[in-house]
Symmetry: C2
Subunit: 293 residues, 2 copies
C-alpha cells in the first residue's frame, strides 16, 4: 500500500484537510471555515487524530509565512491582517499535537510543486503557478525547488501599466492600489464593473481589459523568472475564453523579444490551466508532506 | 600558487579579457572593440594563447544566449540584432581553439555570481544584480545557482507604470517602448532630457523620475524573486545620490507589504552598489571559469 500523507490547504476563508497518497487516492477529506486559530487548528488536529498511520503532514498556507529554517519563527504565519492569525505557529502547533513531521509553504508555492509532480508541469524544473481569484498570488519552482529567498514571492503585487483614461478604476489593493492584484483580482473586476466576474458575458469589455492586465503581468514574469511554463488557476480563470486572449496578448506584448519556440509558436502549451484543476493547492499540501522530515 | 583562469567579458561594444585567480590577483588584461565574430574571437584566442597554463575560461556574454545544456546550440549567441553575431557558437569556437573547458552565462548572471563570491552578496544564496546603463539587464542567483529556466532572465524588459502626463517620453525600447529599459536606461534619459545623464545636476528633476522607475521595477523584483539583496550597477548608477532616493522610494512603493527587517529597517544593506565596483562582469567570467568542466 502506498504511504499515506495528510494535507492541509489553509486559506483565509476555509481550511481543507485531506488524507491521500496521490490525486487519485484521496481517502478522506473535510473542510471547515477559518475562524480563530485555536478553533480552526483544533478541528485540523481532531480530523488527523482519526488517521494515526500518517507519515507526515503538509500545510499549503495563506501568508505571509516565515520560511527561513534558521529563524526562531520558522513555520509561523507572520504579519497577516487576518484577525487573530498574526504570529501564529501553525506548524509547531500541529507538529506538537500530532507528533509527525510537518512541512509548510505558501499555498501557491505548494500548488506549483503539485503541478510539477502530478499536473501540467511534469518533467520541467522551473515554472510558475498563479491563482487569480479573490486575491492574486504566484508561486514558483526554480531548478526543482520552491522559490523562497528573503521571504517568499508575492507576485500579486508587481506593478502594471495603468491607462487611467481607458480604466479610471484606481485599483483596490489596500497596500499598492493598482498593482496586479489591485487591478485583476475578482473583487477588482466586481468593483470596476459593478457586477461579479461570473455574471459578465464573454463579449463584455471587462475581459479584454482583464486579459491585458494579466498578459502585462506575464510579460514581467517571463522577463524575470524565465519559466518553462506558466499555470493560471483560480476563480477568475474559470472563464475558458480568457486563455486564448491571454496567450495572444502575452505574445504580442513580448513582441518577439524572447525568441523561445515555447513562446513564439507553442504558447498554447506555455500558458496553461492547472492539470490538477482546483486541487493544485490541496495536492500541494500532500507534496509538502512527502518532503517533510 | 592559486589556479589561473581566463575571463571574457563579452559586450556588444567591447570585449575585456583577463587572466586572474581572484579580484586581487589579475595577472593580465586586454580590451578591444567588438567587430566581426571572426576578428573579435580571433583576438580573444590570440590573447589566451599567451597563457597556456589556464585551467579553464569563462564568458560573461551579451545575449540572448542558448544556455540549455541539452540543446545542440548550447553556448551560442542566438537572435541578437547585433550585425553578424546572430547564431554564433562563441563557446564552441573558443573551446576548440584553446582546448580548455569553457563556461558561459549572461553578463548579468555572471556579475551576480561574482558579487556572491567576492562582492556585496557573500554569504547569501538568493540575490539579484542589475546593470542600468546603455541598456538595463538583471541577473539572479537563486538557491546558490544562476537563474536560467526557459532561456535566461531579461529583467530590463519588465513592464512599469507610465504616467504620460508627468512623462510624455514614449520610451525607447525598440521591442516594448516604455518597459524598464525603455524608460530608465542611459539613452532613455538622454533622449528624454536632451542631454546625457552625466551632465544632469543632482537636483535636476530627471533623477526623481529615474528613481521612481527604478524603484517601481524593484517593487516587482522583490515581489517576484524575493531576493535577499539587490545590487545596482552600471553607468547610470554612478550617480551616488540615486541610492538613497531609490531605497526610500522602494520602501515607500512596497508600503509595508513585505515585512522583512531587510526592507523595513535595513534597506541601506538591501539595495547596494556592487562590491566589485565596475568589475562584477569581468570577475563573473572568472567565476564561470572556476565552474567550467
Amino acid at each position: 500500500m502506498a504511504a499515506l500523507f495528510g494535507g492541509i490547504e489553509a486559506g483565509g476563508t476555509k481550511f481543507n484537510c485531506i488524507v491521500a497518497s496521490s490525486p487519485e487516492t484521496i481517502l478522506a477529506e473535510t473542510r471547515f471555515p477559518t475562524t480563530t486559530p485555536a478553533e480552526t487548528i483544533g478541528r485540523v488536529i481532531d480530523f488527523f487524530h482519526g488517521y494515526p498511520s500518517l507519515g507526515s503532514i503538509g500545510i499549503a498556507c495563506f501568508g505571509p509565512l516565515d520560511l527561513n529554517p534558521a529563524s526562531p519563527k520558522f513555520g509561523f504565519i507572520t504579519s497577516t491582517p487576518k484577525a487573530n492569525w498574526a504570529d501564529t505557529d501553525i506548524t509547531g502547533w500541529i507538529k506538537r499535537e500530532l507528533d509527525v513531521p510537518v512541512g509548510i509553504d505558501t499555498d501557491v508555492n505548494a500548488a506549483a510543486m503539485a503541478e510539477g509532480i502530478w499536473g501540467s508541469c511534469q518533467g520541467l524544473d522551473s515554472f510558475v503557478y498563479f491563482t487569480i481569484g479573490t486575491g492574486v498570488g504566484g508561486g514558483a519552482v526554480v531548478n526543482g525547488k520552491p522559490l523562497h529567498g528573503l521571504v517568499h514571492p508575492e507576485m500579486g503585487h508587481i506593478v502594471l501599466p495603468h491607462d487611467h483614461q481607458r480604466d479610471p478604476f484606481p485599483g483596490n489593493c489596500p497596500f499598492h492600489g493598482d498593482c496586479f492584484e489591485g487591478m485583476a483580482s475578482g473583487p477588482a473586476i466586481n468593483k470596476r464593473w459593478g457586477q461579479s466576474a461570473e455574471t459578465l458575458p464573454a463579449d463584455h469589455p471587462a475581459w479584454d481589459l482583464e486579459a491585458d492586465y494579466i498578459s502585462q503581468a506575464m510579460q514581467s514574469i517571463v522577463c524575470t523568472l524565465s519559466p518553462q511554463r506558466i499555470v493560471l488557476g483560480g476563480g477568475v480563470m474559470q472563464q475558458p475564453h480568457l486563455f486564448p486572449l491571454i496567450r495572444q496578448k502575452t505574445q504580442s506584448f513580448l513582441h518577439g523579444y524572447v525568441q523561445a519556440p515555447q513562446i513564439m509558436s507553442n504558447i498554447d502549451q506555455f500558458i496553461v490551466p492547472p492539470g490538477l484543476g482546483t486541487h493544485s493547492g490541496m495536492m500541494g499540501a500532500i507534496a509538502l508532506a512527502q518532503q517533510a522530515k
